[in-house]
């Protein structure tokens, strides 16, 4: 598992490394507020609010990163009960929750973000 994590971290251009720390931080912030599960758009909104940014994370960047994080075991996902979505008159959500491994990875990603080299490059914020 550790090697998969390292692969994910190295492959920054693929979108996983670029958005992973921010997504994990956003997921943990949502969990602190009692939202143990989140959908893609909720995390995009949370990231924008944290960064005080006007723009939301791009579709491709966001869902590619979420997929890779799930493959790396940092997140797990399930599809929402269709009856709930139908009752609220909206499409079904894919709900993610952060795993133990994902929660452990956040301090490491914080350290990466705070390192001078990363700060010099403009941080790891998603495109």
């Amino acid at each position: 598992m550790r090697s998969r994590l390292r692969g994910c971290r190295r492959n920054r251009a693929s979108g996983c490394g670029a958005a992973r720390p921010t997504i994990l931080e956003a997921a943990i912030d949502l969990r602190r507020r009692g939202e143990t599960e989140f959908h893609g758009f909720a995390v995009a909104k949370e990231i924008a609010e944290q960064a005080e940014a006007r723009t939301l994370t791009a579709h491709g960047t966001l869902y590619k990163a979420l997929g890779r994080m799930a493959e790396a075991g940092l997140l797990e996902s399930r599809w929402e009960d269709p009856n709930i979505a139908a009752a609220e008159g909206r499409p079904r959500r894919r709900l993610y929750h952060i795993t133990g491994l994902g929660a452990q990875a956040v301090p490491a990603s914080d350290a990466i973000r705070r390192s001078p080299a990363v700060r010099h490059r403009g941080g790891l914020a998603p495109s």
């Binding site: 599809w79 909206r90 499409p91």
Partner: protein, 201 residues
């Protein structure tokens, strides 16, 4: 126009998702389309509640679409390659299987050689040489498409060479040829899976 901007932007996004998920395994494709559908709904719903102007909302959706296109294509490439490696092993097999796999390509090459060399000699005219070369480039495209269809290496290169050759032989046909070949490559490279399963429960 401004009022319909979010719907237009959402339509563009849906079209793009359908395009880059073509030919991928049905479960993967359906899941990505459903996830984007949910995202679009949430986006529109949130911004409508906030009272954002429709024009601005449409712009936001398109900006998210465009900014993520490179990641979408790279995601597709990863899953496409993974599928090829698991479902279409290259090389190996019995002689019968190899003949079945390569027979059409060999036939296309043989016809190309025949059209390039034998036909002009038999007819004895330079005009036919030009026709023969053109036909052989056409057959190269055909062979390449067959190779791609059968998951063999070099198919795309053959198609590209055939397209360039055809274009050079008949300069006035360059653009239509390239466009046609590009469409054919796309269709063959992204052959759709017919059965679309429902989303996982």
């Amino acid at each position: 126009m401004s009022a319909s901007a979010p719907a237009l932007a959402a339509g563009l996004t849906r079209a793009w998702v359908r395009l880059y998920t073509r030919g991928l395994p049905a479960d993967l494709r359906t899941a990505r389309q459903a996830e984007l559908e949910s995202d679009l709904w949430e986006h529109e719903h949130w911004r409508t509640t906030e009272g954002l102007r429709p024009g601005r909302m449409g712009f936001e959706i398109v900006a998210r679409l465009v900014a993520g296109m490179a990641a979408d294509l790279s995601w597709r490439l990863v899953h496409r390659n993974a599928r090829r490696h698991t479902t279409r092993p290259l090389g190996g097999g019995t002689m019968n299987e190899l003949l079945k796999k390569h027979g059409m390509v060999a036939l296309a090459v043989a016809l190309g050689v025949w059209a390039t060399t034998v036909v002009p000699i038999l007819v004895g005219s330079d005009d036919w040489l030009q026709v023969g070369v053109s036909v052989s480039f056409g057959l190269l495209i055909l062979g390449g498409l067959i190779a791609m269809h059968r998951g063999l290496r070099g198919g795309r290169v053959a198609v590209a060479l055939g397209a360039i050759g055809t274009g050079m032989m008949t300069l006035w046909l360059v653009l239509p040829t390239i466009a046609t070949v590009a469409i054919l490559i796309w269709l063959y490279a992204t052959r759709d899976v017919r059965q679309v399963p429902p989303l996982p429960a």
